[in-house]
């Protein structure tokens, strides 16, 4: 890997690790997983269902929150605080800066997901007393959650290149929510006619399809994903993230820094 990208990614990771807000969110996510154990005790024989549902949903939700909260400031904060001045006066190309920031935040999310996943696994082992065949589905669901993080991080970074942190957060959250209902949006597009159909179909395919990357419900019932679905979702997430990052680079390459 380009060493400058690696150094920027490492510094981004270090910044996230030293951000106290991050630990609060992780702690809350772990608490949610623990709370799942208590909720599961309310009804007989659904502890496993509740632990997986609540635990993975907590990982997904808090991971998205972390991705957006940190991602929206990756570029805009550096412009505002002028830390970019001493960065870009060095032999660092603007696209390398974007790539390094993306990889740094993605790495942070991977590490966070790993630790939060340990919490869920421990809770699972506690309720099940042993690993089950359906636990593989939990791993696949976790992998798809990480793919979601790739997309939402890229989107937050894109907005950060041209918008204020508040607006970037609104756009990113809005796209996450809309994307979570992307399948419904496609269904709606199919029911319309004429220009509305074209517009609705365009919008449906333009928004990130987070619903396809959400198999938490299936994983809770021990149903995993086929290898074809795993390959398709991986390719989709990578292509989408790269396209969004390309947009971020295009915007940032032309931006005058105040």
């Amino acid at each position: 890997m380009n060493s400058r990208i690696f150094h920027i990614a490492s510094n981004t990771f270090r910044e996230a690790v030293r951000d106290r807000v991050l630990y609060n969110l992780i702690a809350f996510a772990v608490l949610m997983s623990g709370a799942a154990l208590l909720v599961g005790m309310i009804s007989i024989q659904i502890e496993r269902l509740v632990v997986i549902n609540l635990g993975l949903t907590a990982i997904s939700f808090f991971g998205v929150v972390i991705a957006i909260l940190i991602g929206i400031g990756l570029v805009s904060k550096e412009i505002e605080k002028r830390t970019l001045y001493t960065m870009l006066s060095r032999p660092v190309r603007r696209w390398e800066f974007i790539a390094g920031k993306f990889l740094g935040l993605t790495g942070t999310l991977l590490v966070n997901t790993f630790f939060m996943a340990i919490g869920v696994v421990l809770a699972l082992v506690y309720v099940s007393h042993h690993f089950q065949r359906g636990d593989g589905a939990v791993l696949v669901a976790l992998y798809f959650i990480v793919l979601q993080f790739l997309i939402i991080t890229a989107l937050a970074l894109l907005f950060s290149t041209f918008s204020s942190p508040l607006l970037s957060a609104i756009f990113a959250f809005a796209l996450f929510i809309i994307g979570s209902f992307a399948e419904d949006l496609r269904g709606f597009a199919g029911m319309t006619h004429g220009i509305a159909r074209w517009l609705a179909t365009g919008a449906a395919y333009l928004v990130p399809n987070f619903s396809a990357l959400n198999i938490i419900g299936q994983a809770a019932h021990g149903q995993g994903a086929t290898p074809q679905l795993i390959a398709y979702n991986t390719a989709y997430a990578l292509v989408y993230a790269i396209a969004v990052l390309s947009g971020a680079v295009l915007i940032f390459e032309r931006r005058n820094l105040k």
Binding site: H7, R82, T83, L88, P91, R93
Partner: protein, 326 residues
């Protein structure tokens, strides 16, 4: 050799919400800087100094013209590896310590991994931050941040160093240390290009100065030439507390300084004044030609009104201005 060649660099912004109108921040600028010089870029606030520096650093894109540093284009990474930049009122990653920051910047500048720690220690020692090397930057004072800024600008041993208001916010001791550092950089064969509105610093340090006002270059001069330029006046100093009538009638400007009197008068009246002092048996201490100071040159080229914003002149139609050698 010209290490910095500015060839008609200009910048116009569009301001306004509905009806955009152009605001010219920098008129076409033509300027060359020789290697090994300390070059002062002077002007009041809003003159366009920082805009020029930001264009040279690739932070802002010019709307016209071009420039080369060390013979290379402004976006050439090979060029950027050989320059250092200290922005005005620098801000750094406050969660890092000074050592971490410099190591990070050293890595980005291509400093060899085996050398970077040694170079970081050396530059921290040089700017007087060795004791604070492992303190987070959020706990640094303004003066310490300025020193950290200078450290990151020179860490990778650049050939050309750009400093934007390097004395900003420093106490007298800090300014003295920065001055010494700039002179030391020149001694190492580096070229220093620094912008300032503090004329005394430029006068003390610079080989050449350029004066910018309202985005236009008003003149370029070697400081030594300025020092040699005389006003056609002389200053006489003699022992005593009074001004003889023979000197008063010459229209001299007189003032007491301790137990001496100083008088500034026209050079053609020098002999008459000397004769008066001899006749009055007053002890002459010195006769010195009065030279133009940088401040006087600055005021002459920028004017008293130059310190006030003139929006009308800033939006005037473009016109070429050849660099004047005064």
């Amino acid at each position: 050799m010209h290490v910095i060649e500015i060839l008609g660099l200009e910048k116009t912004y569009s301001v306004g919400f509905w009806r955009k109108r152009p605001k010219r921040a920098l008129h076409p600028l033509y300027l060359n800087v020789e290697e090994g010089q300390i070059f002062g870029f002077l002007g009041p606030n809003g003159a366009g100094k920082t805009t020029t520096l930001k264009m040279l650093m690739g932070l802002v894109f010019p709307t016209g013209g071009t420039a080369r540093i060390l013979g290379m284009e402004l976006d050439d990474p090979r060029m950027k590896a050989q320059i250092g930049f200290l922005p005005e009122q620098p801000y750094f990653y406050d969660y890092l310590t000074a050592r971490e920051l410099l190591r990070y910047y050293g890595q980005l500048s291509g400093v060899d991994a085996k050398q970077v720690n040694r170079k970081v220690d050396a530059v921290l020692e040089r700017v007087g931050l060795s004791d604070a090397a492992d303190v987070q930057l959020r706990k640094f004072s303004k003066g310490m941040l300025q020193r950290a800024g200078i450290a990151q600008a020179i860490l990778h041993d650049p050939r050309v160093v750009f400093l934007d208001e390097p004395m900003s916010g420093l106490d007298p001791m800090g300014r003295y240390e920065v001055r010494n550092l700039i002179e030391a950089l020149k001694g190492e064969g580096k070229t220093v290009f620094f912008s300032t509105h503090i004329l005394s610093d430029a006068e003390a340090l610079c080989d050449q100065v350029a004066v910018l006002h309202l985005g236009e270059l008003r003149g370029v001069a070697a400081v030594a030439e300025l020092a040699a330029r005389v006003h056609g006046k002389v200053e006489m100093v003699w022992q005593g507390a009074s001004v003889p009538q023979g000197i008063q009638v010459l229209g001299a400007e007189c003032h007491a300084a301790g137990d001496t009197m100083r008088a500034v008068l026209a050079e053609e009246n020098q002999d008459l004044a000397l004769e008066t002092l001899r006749r009055e048996r007053l002890r002459l201490i010195s006769v010195t030609p009065v030279r133009m100071s940088l401040e006087e040159y600055f005021v002459a080229n920028v004017g008293a009104a130059g310190f006030a914003a003139d929006k009308q002149a800033a939006n005037a139609p473009p016109r070429h201005r050849v660099t004047e050698k005064v």
